[in-house]
Structure formats: C-alpha cells, structure tokens
C-alpha cells in the first residue's frame, strides 16, 4: 500500500511543482473578456464588420477600435450583449436590408448576345459589358449569391432575389455587384424603385418590359412630393415617402414595389373626432367612411397608413398604430 501511495502522490507533487513554476515563468496575459465577446457574437466570420473574422473583431472592440455594435450580422441584440460584457452603453443602430434595384428576369429582359464563360458577374461584365441588353440590369450570374454569408440571395430566372428575412444588411453584396444595383435601405416599410436604367423610355422598352421609362406618373401622383425623375429614372426621397403605395398603383411598368408588407394603420379616436370630414376627403384610398354628425371610422382593409389624414385632422383624433 505504501509504495503506491508514495509513488502516486510523489509524482503528482513533482508534476504540480514543475507546472507551477512553469506557469509563473511562462505566463501570458490574455484578456478573458475576448472569450466572452466571442460568445456573444454570431460566429459567422462574415467579415462585414471590416475585420478578419469574429475573433479579430472581438480584439478590436476591446482595443476600442471597433464600436460595440459593429457586428452587423448580429444586429442590436448582439451589440447589447457585447456592451454588457464591456459595461458600456450602445446607441441604437438602424437595421438595414439589401435591395436589388432591378427586376429584369430572363423573361422580361432580352439578351444581346450568347455568353460563354464562368458564372460570375464580375468576370462576365468584362465580356462585351454583360449579355443582358440593359447596361444597368442585374447580370444574374450570382456573384452576390456566392459572397452572401447568410444565404439570403438566390438567383431566379437570371435575377438576384434577396430574402428580406434572412438578410442582415451587412452590405457585402453591395460591394460585390459590378453593376452597383444593390443598395442598403432601412429595414422598414418603404417603396423602392426596382430599376436602375438611365436609358430613355423608348430604349428601355426596346429591351425590357419592366424597367422605369421615366414617364413621371409616380412623380405626379405622389401626394408627398417624394418622387422626382432624374436621368429617366424615378428617385424616391426616403425622408418624404410614407410608403402609402399610390405610386406603386400608378406605375405602368410595375417598377415600383413596396419593400415590406404594410404594418401601419390610422385609428380615429371617436371621443376626439369632431366629424368634420376633412380626413375622408383627403384619403386617397377611400379608407375612411362616415358622415357628418358621427365619428368617422377607418376601414381596416383599405388604410395604408400614409398619414395624410393626420395632418388634416384639427382635433388630433387620428393616430398611427402598428398592426402585426
């Protein structure tokens, strides 16, 4: 019994002393918080933050080179977690989403030649400027799809389509697109011009069935003056747009599309309503009904939350609510 005890404890003792000395002599300081930050990050190593992977970003955050909410993939929640590790506060960042400003699928847009080469937009654009007849259109060979770390992009009928749910707004595709037709926009209800062509309307009609022809109907129809046509292309001022969707209805080419389903709706407080009827007159969607003498009401199915009625109401009886 004794030899066993002595040998086991003896060897253990010697080893522990050796290791203890080594630990002292060879000690390396590493911030334990790096590990904690790494845990908070999504770990996709997408590089959207501008650093080589999550680990590098964690180090940069610690060194105060990168903001705590610098992780675009993780969004606000990750930023909060990282801030918690460091005991900092985080300013709220707006969640972005990528939009392809082109709808020129193979069905809608013609080809000007037969392309033989690799499936890569950046390579293809150097061969005769790309085979799509529109010099502004999506080449549809999937360079953005290949670089998207979140699998949010698919190519359908020679057109890049972004899954708004999967997209985190990292912007890698924006950088990759040789046509520069992918944009980052705030992730909220808005109307987008899904065309980038600056060709004249006649030319656009020649090669594309769905492109902006610069007809200015949207410009005239917009009650908020949010749309201007520049270089034969409609441009929406996001500050003015209320996503009412009137322009979407008037566009003859179906170029304008709403980004997300409408989530806002007006509500009339029957107690405050003075029954003046101004709101009903201004509503472009006939979503308000009622007659003088009684409080007006909103037709839930028709209201698009444009907010025109709010400005008209003298009694402050109308408010916007989020419906989900």
């Amino acid at each position: 019994m004794l030899p066993e005890l002595i040998s086991l404890t003896g060897i253990g003792f010697i080893a522990s002393i050796g290791l203890g000395i080594a630990a002292k002599r060879l000690a390396i300081k590493e911030d334990p918080r790096i590990e904690k930050i790494l845990e908070a990050l999504p770990g996709a190593n997408c590089g959207a933050c501008g650093y080589a992977g999550c680990s590098a970003f964690a180090r940069a955050v610690l060194a105060e080179e990168a903001p705590v909410d610098g992780c675009l993939a993780g969004g606000v929640s990750t930023g909060l977690k990282v801030a918690e590790v460091l005991g900092k506060k985080v300013e709220k960042t707006e969640r972005m989403v990528a939009v392809v400003a082109c709808q020129g699928t193979g069905t809608y847009t013609r080809q000007r030649f037969i392309y033989q080469g690799i499936d890569n937009c950046r390579a293809a654009v150097n061969i005769g400027g790309g085979s799509k007849a529109c010099a502004y259109g999506c080449l549809g060979l999937g360079s953005c799809q290949q670089v998207c770390p979140f699998g949010a992009i698919t190519i359908k009928d020679a057109l890049a389509v972004i899954d708004t749910e999967a997209c985190v707004g990292c912007g890698i595709c924006v950088d990759e697109c040789p046509r520069d037709i992918i944009h980052l926009v705030p992730r909220k209800v808005s109307v987008q011009v899904l065309c980038s062509s600056q060709e004249t309307g006649k030319n656009v009609r020649d090669f594309c069935d769905i492109g902006c022809i610069g007809c200015k109907r949207c410009e005239q129809a917009c009650p908020f003056n949010a749309i201007t046509v520049k270089n034969n292309l409609a441009v929406i001022d996001p500050g003015k747009c209320t996503a009412c969707g009137i322009c979407v209805d008037v566009c003859p080419q179906q170029t304008l599309k709403a980004l997300l389903p409408i989530t806002r709706q007006a509500e009339i407080d029957p107690g405050k309503c003075i029954s003046c009827g101004k709101c009903k007159r201004v509503c472009p969607f006939e979503a308000i009904f009622g007659s003088k003498g009684a409080p007006y009401e909103i037709l839930t199915g028709k209201c698009r939350g444009c907010g025109l009625c709010i400005n008209q109401c003298e009694a402050d009886a109308i408010t916007m609510t989020e419906v989900l």
């Binding site: 080469g117 890569n120 390579a123 150097n126 061969i127 005769g128």
Partner: protein
C-alpha cells in the same frame, strides 16, 4: 545565331493560307467614321473639334491627355457630326468622334518630306512620333513615343522588330513586310537612331519564308539581322521574344523589356514610325486582315481608322455561314464583339469571323488535372490551380502562385481538354486582387 528557349507554347493550326497570298487592298472610304477617343492604354484623348466643324484627312481632332496617351487624327475629310458614346472594341460604349465623309476619293497628301531625318538630333524625332499619335499596333496599343523614351538610367542596347505574327489567321504584318520592305527597314534605322541601340533584330516566324527572304535581301546594314524563329505560339509575345533572342528574362512582377535593355516594336508600328518621320503622316489607317471561315472573301485591307466593322464585312462579301463570333484581333487574344457597328481602331490587327459551328460548343468540365496547361504555359505558371482558386474566390492563394504574371496568351485555355475558360478565370482573379489592393490602400 543560337536561339534560346522559352517554356511551354502551343502549335495551333495557323490558318494563314486564307490570306497570306493576298496583296493589300485599299478599302473604299466609308461614308461615316466613328473614331474612338480611347484607342490606347491610358486616359482617352481630349477632343479639340466640335460637331459641325469641317475636318481634312490627317487633321488632329483629339489631343493626348496625360503622359501615357496619344493624339487622334481625322481619317477622312468631311464634317464632324457628333461626339457621343459609341460601341467600342472593349464591349462598352465609349465616346467617339463621328465624321461624315465627303467624296469617295480621298488621298492623304504628305505634309512633310524629310529627306534625311538621321541628320537631326535623335531626340527631335520623338515629337514627330508623338504628334502622329502612334501606338503599338500589334494590339497592345501602348503609346510608342513613351516606349521610345526610356528613363535615363536604363540603357537600351537591343532593338527587336517583331514580325513574328504568331496569332493564327493574321497576315497583316506578313503582307506589310512583303510590300513595304524598304519602308520598314528605313523605320528600323530611325528607331535605332533614336534609341542608340547597338543591335537590331528583325524576328520573323519560319512560316513566312518569303518575308524572311525579302527582308534579308533588302537589308544592307550589317547591324540589322533577320532571324527566323520556329513556329510556336506565343513566340511574338514581348517577353518570350526577348528570351528567345537575348536569352534574358524580363523580371517577374511588373518588369519591363527595358529592364533587360531591350525594346520591341511591331513591324506595323515601325512602318507607321517611318511614315510619321519621313512624311509627317499621322496614324489614320492601318493594315488589317479580314479572315476566318465565316467571311465570304477574306482580304488584307488598308482601312481608315474609325471604319465600322460592318462596312468591312460588307466589303468582303458578308457572312458566309451562320455567324458565330466576330473578333477584333487574332483568335488567341482578340476581343469578340456583339455589335458589328464597332469601329476599327489603331490596334485592330484583324477582323476575324468564325462561324457558329466552330464556336457554338461550350461545355466546361471540372478540372481533371491533366497538367497540359502547366506544360504549355509560357510563363511557367500553374493555370489549373489559378483557375480553381479563382472559382473558389481564393485570391490570396492565386496571388501566391504568381497570378499577376499571367500574360493572358490563352495557351492554357487552348489545350484544356476540359474546355475550361482559364483565361477568363485568371483575368477575373487578377481584377479581384487589384481591387482588394486598392481597397487596402484606401484604408
């Protein structure tokens, strides 16, 4: 003379019998020319005419902008109609000067007659070349006056006149050497004089024995030697040509021929230099070979710069078969076009029409690692790995394999049994590497 050996190379069928025996014909003056402002490496020239201006053939209509740039001259007499974006050989729209010509019969009348340019100081000859807007006419379109003004610290001992014309199908240089032998030799004397080069070589591939004979018979100067080179593509590439003749390799990673004391000039450029110095003639026309099995009657033509290819095709009888590819330049390095409105430029050595049946097939396979591309690469690269790395966006790995040294000669793609578009993959990877570098530099 001992010839040195460059690695790799291929032996495609040279197809020159279509046009090699045909004398150069003058193409008729087109009704309209579209002269691109960008016909050279470097920034486009600055137009100095406006719509409505009358111009005479040989008038300067656009001025070089920046150091590496070249003047542009009117190739016909007529009226400037517009300066507007027009199809360009690069495949995109690029600004061009549109001139409506008046009259069919327009001959360029020499403005100068310098009987003995060699009596002038050598440096005074360079402005004549710059004024004439001469660029490398083998296809590289590098402004010639820049190439002939090496920095002080580089001494040039060897001038190589490139009459190799290793691209299949093309015979423009071949015909030029046969029909303007004395003029080219005169041009060689001028260039040699400018560079103060001790040795001059005229390099011609063995498949042009008549041109070799013609040159040999007409050269009296013992310092100019005609060298017949074995037939191997890309024998006419600058670096490979220097290696073959001098045995020296232009350094990898951005080295230039002048680093080994050599300057290479194409015979077409040499002829243009002769005309510029002797007669003061600007570069308004060039010899181009219209060939391929897609054209009815192949020809060697002297065409005015800016002539739409459409006119040239019509002149040669039009398409013979179902159109496949329309290529400006040779089949190995030429750029193909989707629009036959594109005009001839200073670098258009050929107009090649290939029928659909020759080029319609495109079924690339994954790399089977046969190694044929490695064997034929004249730069000693590993194109198979470069291609695979490009496919997988592993650009740093590709760069480590000397991606940027690729001269895009196309030998690898020619031999690939899997029919992989290796040149395109490599070119794409190159672009990405440079883009990333720029991005890093910006940060």
């Amino acid at each position: 003379m001992i010839l040195h050996h460059f690695p790799g190379g291929i032996h495609p069928h040279d197809e020159k019998e279509l046009t090699a025996h045909l004398p150069i014909e003058d193409a008729p003056i087109p009704s309209r020319v579209f002269i691109p402002l960008s016909q050279h490496i470097g920034p486009p020239a600055e137009p100095i005419v406006k719509p409505g201006d009358p111009v005479r053939v040989g008038d300067k209509i656009a001025e070089a902008r920046g150091f590496v740039s070249a003047n542009i001259h009117a190739s016909v007499t007529g009226t400037v109609r517009a300066i507007r974006p027009y199809p360009h050989a690069s495949g995109r729209l690029a600004p061009a000067i549109e001139i409506e010509s008046e009259g069919e019969d327009q001959v360029y009348v020499p403005t100068k007659d310098r009987q003995d340019p060699l009596s002038l100081p050598p440096q005074t000859l360079i402005p004549f070349i710059r004024e004439a807007g001469i660029v490398g006419m083998g296809g590289a379109t590098f402004p010639t006056h820049v190439k002939l003004s090496p920095p002080e610290d580089k001494s040039i001992h060897t001038l190589i006149i490139n009459g190799v014309e290793c691209e299949p199908y093309l015979t423009a240089d071949h015909r030029l050497m046969l029909e303007h032998t004395r003029d080219i030799i005169e041009g060689i004397m001028y260039i040699r004089y400018i560079l103060n080069a001790s040795f001059s070589f005229v390099a011609i591939e063995i498949n042009k024995p008549d041109a070799i004979r013609m040159m040999q018979n007409n050269i009296s100067d013992p310092h100019i030697r005609v060298i017949s080179l074995p037939k191997r593509y890309p024998q006419g590439a600058e670096k490979q040509l220097i290696k073959t003749i001098l045995g020296q390799e232009v350094p990898s990673g951005g080295g230039l021929p002048m680093d080994v004391g050599a300057v290479v000039q194409n015979v077409g450029t040499t002829f243009a230099i002769y005309e510029a110095i002797r007669w003061g003639k600007p570069l308004i026309e060039r010899i181009t070979t219209v060939t391929g099995r897609g054209i009815k009657t192949p020809k060697n033509l002297r065409v005015r710069i800016g002539t739409p290819v459409r006119d040239i095709i019509a002149l040669c009888g039009g398409w013979k078969e179902v159109p496949g590819k329309l290529i400006l330049g040779g089949p190995m390095m030429g750029i193909n076009q989707y629009d036959d409105a594109v005009p001839v430029t200073k670098g258009t050595s050929g107009v090649l029409l290939l029928p659909r049946e020759e080029v319609g097939e495109y079924h690339p396979h994954t790399c089977v690692r046969c190694g044929r591309c490695v064997t034929v690469c004249p730069m000693g690269l590993l194109p198979n790995f470069l291609g695979v790395f490009s496919e997988h966006a592993r650009f740093a790995d590709a760069e480590r394999l000397h991606l940027l040294d690729c001269i895009e000669c196309g030998s690898c793609t020619y031999v690939c049994p899997a029919k992989r578009p290796l040149v395109q993959m490599i070119r794409y990877a190159k672009g990405e590497v440079l883009r990333r570098r720029k991005k890093v530099a910006r940060q």
